[in-house]
């Protein structure tokens, strides 16, 4: 499998703090790849460099064979990278449907076509019945799914999910896991997720990268990674493995 996303030695420094330190990994086409690590490990910073919110100080990010590091977020999205935000930010005063239409309009020129696509995505994410509600009126789990829906509507090749399961009940988590698995198997969508909820990570990811203090301390298949002593020590803690 060829790599859809290739991150090569990226670093990001905020004043004296090295948030991300020479991290490299590759996400193959069609994979579900997870980045885990304790709070402050640099996961979101890594994401922001891939999505274009920050340019890396060093290193390169390539998507589908082309350098994308340093490009602004809108251009990266147009190339096929969709993202969600850790702290959800749907367009609050717009309806659920309109939120998703905005995403769908990226590659469609008429609102009518975008609405068709938006309905398709909303059905997939179980939000169709709530399409006329204002985004600000939704519950947190619904808003999280709306973020995913809006990103999906842009027809991404790679979807970046920043802690979409955080704060959800286990049943809600299972629901999103099921939706993502379905998307991955049916449409071949490649997913890169940051996640704390190990239940979701273990169910979804084919490969895991562990960050600690900005550096990659382990990478591999889920079963290997959770047995890695360094990972247990820095992140999982003894009882989580059992």
């Amino acid at each position: 499998m060829s790599a859809l996303l290739k991150v090569d030695g990226v670093s990001k420094r905020f004043r004296g703090l090295i948030a991300v330190d020479r991290v490299s990994f590759q996400v193959p086409q069609g994979a579900i790849f997870a980045v885990i690590g304790p709070n402050g490990a640099g996961k979101t910073t890594l994401f922001n460099m891939i999505a274009g919110n920050f340019a890396p100080d060093n290193g390169t990010v390539s998507f589908a064979g082309e350098r994308i590091d340093g490009l602004p977020p809108d251009q990266i999205c147009r190339r096929g990278v969709g993202r969600t935000f850790q702290i959800v930010r749907p367009f609050p005063m717009l309806s659920v449907e309109e939120n998703v239409i905005v995403g769908a309009l990226l590659h469609r020129h008429h609102a009518r076509d975008a609405r068709v696509r938006a309905h398709e995505v909303l059905r997939r994410l179980d939000l169709y019945d709530k399409r006329t509600q204002r985004a600000s009126a939704l519950t947190l789990p619904d808003r999280k799914r709306l973020e995913v829906a809006r990103a999906l509507a842009t027809d991404p090749k790679l979807l970046l999910l920043d802690e979409v399961m955080a704060g959800l009940r286990p049943t809600e988590t299972d629901r999103i896991v099921a939706i993502l698995k379905e998307l991955n198997s049916e449409t071949g969508l490649t997913v890169l997720l940051i996640e704390h909820v190990m239940r979701a990570v273990m169910a979804l990811a084919s490969r895991i990268l562990v960050l600690h203090h900005g550096a990659a301390i382990a990478e591999g298949a889920p079963e290997e990674v959770v047995r890695n002593p360094a990972v247990i020590h820095s992140y999982l803690g003894a009882e989580d493995v059992a």
């Binding site: 999205c77 930010r89 367009f91 309109e98 309009l105 609102a111 842009t154």
Partner: protein, 334 residues
């Protein structure tokens, strides 16, 4: 096209709208001269409010210097008329692009260097003030002495030169309000309208779904500035005199934005409704005070202040969203 415009609008709202439009079309037949001048002012502010609303209500960019574009349109058309006898409809072919370019320049400065929110508002005030001082010293437009358009008794209305009875101005403005309304509705339902709303709601999230926010904010400011300058042309030919100190004064910019705020920012009917409520009630108040023999300078301004306070406290979204619910419109952005 027509079918799409009224798509999804309930029948009774269309009927109501038809009645309002018919009343406005027929109004000059029964209105007194005084009432007609009040209606002209209302339509003038309804149109300007609609133009300003594109920037603030749709794209979320607060301009407090919109009178700059009014003034540029007014001065360009009036000066061409005074100096070369060029009629307003030709003159606006210069005035509108000039305003558009001014808007583009301010927008470029602001959006390229990420000047947003209050700072953007201050920048727009700054440019309007700059124009006010600049025009004071511009000989071509007669500086502080004021630019006067020749006035005579006209036997009949000359639409081509906008010389004649106020009724003519009334219909020109009515047509402008109608066109602006339809234009804004079309924009709002199109791709660009959705992108504007996304930018207004959350610019970073808008960028993350692939929207080139710089580009769409530029389009908003240019369209808004160009539309606004048309009202300036009408202003010049209606009042026949222009003074930098009046045309470019910040209070003019504030007047433009009061209507949409009271009526409902980001709505299509809001600017029109706001203009009717504010100007209508203020004029009623003035004439009532006159009838009572009370002379209170500034009563109108106090009234505007009270209106703003009431709306902000009781209906922070403006009157239209409340009214829309009342008449059973699913009044999100009608």
């Amino acid at each position: 096209m027509m079918a799409r415009l009224i798509d999804g609008v309930p029948r009774r709202v269309l009927i109501l709208l038809g009645i309002v439009v018919a009343a406005l079309v027929l109004a000059p037949l029964v209105a007194s001269d005084y009432l007609l001048t009040v209606l002209i002012v209302i339509l003038y502010f309804a149109y300007l409010g609609q133009a300003w609303n594109i920037m603030m209500g749709f794209a979320g960019q607060l301009s407090l210097g919109h009178t700059l574009y009014v003034g540029l349109g007014a001065y360009a058309a009036a000066a061409l008329y005074v100096h070369y006898g060029i009629g307003p409809w030709i003159g606006m072919l210069a005035g509108i692009p000039i305003a558009g370019i001014a808007g583009a320049f301010i927008g470029y400065l602001a959006f390229r260097f990420r000047v947003g929110g209050v700072y953007f508002a201050i920048l727009t005030i700054g440019f309007a003030e700059f124009a006010r001082v600049g025009f004071d010293h511009l000989e071509w437009t007669r500086g502080t002495g004021g630019l006067f358009l020749p006035v005579a008794q006209y036997a009949h209305n000359d639409l081509w030169h906008l010389r004649g009875h106020p009724v003519m101005f009334y219909y020109v403005l009515l047509a402008a309000v109608a066109l602006a309304f339809v234009g804004c509705r079309v924009l709002l339902q199109s791709r660009i309208g959705y992108f504007w709303l996304a930018i207004r709601e959350d610019e970073e999230a808008a960028r993350s779904v692939g929207i080139d926010t710089f580009r769409y904010k530029m389009v908003a400011v240019v369209i808004s500035a160009a539309m606004t300058s048309f009202a300036g042309v009408i202003f010049a030919f209606y009042y026949n005199n222009l003074f930098p100190d009046q045309v470019f004064h910040i209070s003019r910019s504030i007047e433009i934005i009061l209507g949409p705020i009271v009526g409902g920012i980001g709505t299509l009917f809001g600017p029109i409704l706001g203009a009717f409520v504010l100007t209508g009630l203020a004029e009623t108040l003035t004439s009532a005070l006159n009838a009572l023999g009370v002379d209170l300078p500034g009563a109108k301004q106090v009234f505007y202040g009270v209106c703003l306070l009431l709306v902000i406290v009781a209906m922070p979204d403006g009157i239209w969203p409340w009214l829309a619910r009342y008449i059973g419109l699913k009044g999100d952005r009608s």
